[in-house]
């Protein structure tokens, strides 16, 4: 415990260094802006802005992106409440009660509740993160390639078992990402693989950012253009100092839901397929179930705003736990952060705590500061964000497109990649319209090279004996869990059939 406190103090000091502090504020602001724009969420912001962070050292870069991730969770509530359109999928549940509150002229109350709940959710989860991360990383040091591979299998199994999407389509998406990661030179034999049409450009492979920006930049904007038809409808918000003080005093009304959301969010967030969106929906459901007045949910109950907002912030921090300690991202956003860490020359995984303690603790310290920074910026700048939201899509869209194109070019210096980005973006959009989940593909392209390497290393060291994965206890546990998760939808279907049968009889 003492070492944790000492390291944390070091991390906090680092967070207060001028550059890092500036990055925290810049990240929070960018996150709030990205989060509040309909259609764009943390994952889009992180994907589009990652190339820009090469300006600063890795620690400052991850601090910026983590703050952005965090800020986007706050920002999502702004458009959910004022526009009735979720700013990001993570803020879908906030619309249920936020929108009716805004229609009843209580938008300011809802916005304040969202900010406070987000702050509490964020704080709880950062404390949990600080407590859990070092022991988990220490435990993960025992991992060999077998365990690494089994863990990745588990991560993909959660998408199949808990993702809630069509299973064959989810599997296709995962495998597509894994295969795309294999394009280029083989890591072990050095042979070129999948050089389509003999184009030499394929020898360098397809970077994860090309896919991520294609899908979350281009594809997402096309999707948003379609769903909003380029127009938005806004509610008026009146904010005065006296009303803000009054709203702050009403915290008692929703504090219980906020606590539930905070703890639930953190733990759901650590699961790879789950993340902030299901966490916020589950939290909403739970506080409705345990409410004394469940009827009022969906009609403007303030707890219905606080519960999902606390949960999505907590989940965003939660999803960083497996990324930092195990090198397995807990959400698409953290998958991109993980890819970024590889570009910065860091090796994600348990060794990070030993090899780059400044990086890890600087990040953790910054999350504490970012939490305060975001709540302050959020409350102070609500009128500004509302102005931004009124910005027509035909102004926002070209800016995003330009950032996508130049961002991809800046990471690889090749026009070829921008073409691939466009193809993947449009392809991703067409697939998504048919309910193919795209997040697993992004996660898979990041984890692909790591998964292939660990599989081959394991098999080489065991001389081809596949039982090496089940003779090691940690790896065996992960594989059993993965099988259980993959068969979970089947079990669920069988149980449903069994409960349906007696009622038919």
């Amino acid at each position: 415990m003492e070492t944790i406190l000492v390291s944390l103090a070091g991390g906090l000091l680092q967070a207060f260094e001028p550059l890092n502090l500036f990055m925290i504020f810049a990240g929070c602001l960018a996150g709030l802006l990205v989060g509040c724009m309909p259609g764009l969420g943390s994952v889009n912001g992180v994907a589009i802005l990652l190339p820009v962070t090469f300006l600063v050292p890795p620690t400052a870069a991850i601090i910026f992106l983590a703050a952005l991730y965090y800020g986007a969770m706050y920002g999502g509530a702004i458009s959910s409440i004022t526009l009735g359109i979720p700013g990001a999928s993570t803020a879908v549940a906030t619309v249920f009660d936020g929108r009716p509150m805004a229609q009843a002229g209580k938008a300011d109350k809802a916005l304040m509740a969202a900010a406070i709940a987000s702050f509490i959710g964020g704080t709880v989860s950062i404390i949990l993160f600080t407590l859990f991360a070092p022991p988990l990383a220490a435990f993960a040091l025992k991992f060999g390639p077998q365990e690494e591979f089994a863990l990745m299998l588990l991560a993909f199994a959660t998408f199949i078992g808990l993702g809630g999407d069509d299973i064959p389509k989810t599997i296709f998406s995962i495998l597509l990402g894994l295969v795309m990661a294999a394009i280029g030179f083989d890591i072990i034999s050095g042979q070129p693989r999948m050089i389509f049409f003999d184009m030499v450009e394929f020898q360098r492979g397809i970077g994860f950012l090309v896919l991520a920006i294609g899908i979350y930049g281009i594809g997402e904007m096309l999707w948003t253009l379609e769903s909003t038809k380029g127009k938005v409808q806004m509610h008026n918000v009146t904010i005065t100092w006296a009303r803000m003080k009054e709203n702050f005093g009403q915290i008692k009304e929703y504090i219980n839901s906020t606590w539930v959301g905070s703890f639930l969010g953190f733990f759901v967030g650590t699961l790879p397929a789950a993340g902030a969106t299901p966490a916020s929906l589950m939290s909403y459901g739970l506080s409705k179930t345990f409410s004394k007045d469940p009827e009022s949910f969906g009609k403007g109950n303030i707890s219905g705003v606080a519960a999902p907002e606390a949960a999505n912030n907590a989940a965003s921090t939660g999803s960083m736990l497996p990324m930092i300690t195990l090198g397995i991202p807990g959400s698409p956003t953290t998958a991109i952060l993980l890819g970024g860490m590889i570009i910065w020359g860091l090796r994600p995984g348990p060794l990070l705590f030993q090899e780059s303690p400044d990086f890890v603790w600087g990040l953790i310290g910054s999350m504490y500061v970012a939490n305060f920074a975001t709540v302050l910026l959020n409350i102070a700048l609500i009128p500004v964000f509302i102005r931004v939201l009124a910005m027509p899509f035909t102004l926002l869209t070209p800016i995003i497109f330009v950032l996508c194109v130049l961002g991809v070019f800046a990471t690889t210096d090749r026009m070829f990649d921008t073409w691939i980005m466009l193809i993947l973006g449009v392809g991703g959009y067409l697939l998504r319209k048919l309910n193919y989940p795209v997040a697993p593909a992004v996660l898979a392209i990041v984890l692909g090279p790591l998964a292939e390497r660990s599989l081959r290393q394991s098999l080489i060291s065991s001389q081809g004996d596949v039982t090496t994965f089940i003779t090691r206890p940690i790896s065996l546990t992960c594989i059993i869990l993965a099988i259980l998760l993959m068969s979970y939808p089947l079990i669920q279907r069988m149980m449903r059939r069994r409960t349906a049968e007696p009622s038919e009889n």
Binding site: G230, T394, P398, Y436, E452, L455
Partner: protein, 174 residues
């Protein structure tokens, strides 16, 4: 095209892509089995995973015939006519932007892209349009060329020389 038809076509398209990937690995002569003394061959990972993709696509096609997916029963249009315009125009405008970048260079094509998107698609005032047309290249220059020291595509030599003539002022005076 209805969503129903689109799902079937997509199922076949993904199946074809998967088989194409398998064929690609196979025809390149990569080993897809165990190589004595060296472990799994270079083609093992992409080949067998592509087979998995093919099977997943097949499953989607079978489920379509059984009517199990919600999309296979949906007669809604795949892309509604009213939104088709915005989506297609946006995608094509990026395509043209990329093409122009290799011909007239990044900055001029960005100006053309902004002019098209803000003025002709967005129907904003000339004031807003010009702010975007002029502001975007300046912002891009400062962020990418100055701060990130990236040499963005400059197009054909004549356009590149034009840019370098302008860029020279930066080195001379700043």
């Amino acid at each position: 095209m209805t969503t129903r038809t689109a799902e079937l076509l997509m199922g076949f398209a993904t199946l074809l892509v998967s088989l194409g990937l398998m064929w690609n690995v196979w025809s390149d002569g990569l080993r897809i089995d165990w190589v004595d003394g060296r472990g799994p061959g270079a083609g093992v990972w992409p080949f067998w995973l592509s087979l998995g993709m093919a099977l997943a696509s097949l499953a989607t096609i079978i489920r379509w015939f059984q009517g199990k997916t919600p999309e296979s029963q949906s007669l809604e249009p795949y892309i509604a006519r009213e939104t088709m315009f915005l989506v297609v125009v946006s995608a094509v405008s990026i395509l043209v932007l990329l093409l122009l970048m290799t011909i007239i260079g990044t900055y001029l094509s960005l100006m053309a892209f902004m002019l098209f998107y803000v003025r002709f698609l967005g129907r904003h005032s000339w004031g807003t349009t010009m702010a975007f047309v002029i502001g975007t290249p300046i912002f891009v220059y400062l962020l990418f060329e100055v701060a990130l020291t990236k040499y963005l595509p400059k197009g054909w030599p004549i356009f590149e020389e034009g840019f370098l003539w302008l860029d020279n002022f930066r080195w001379q005076y700043f």
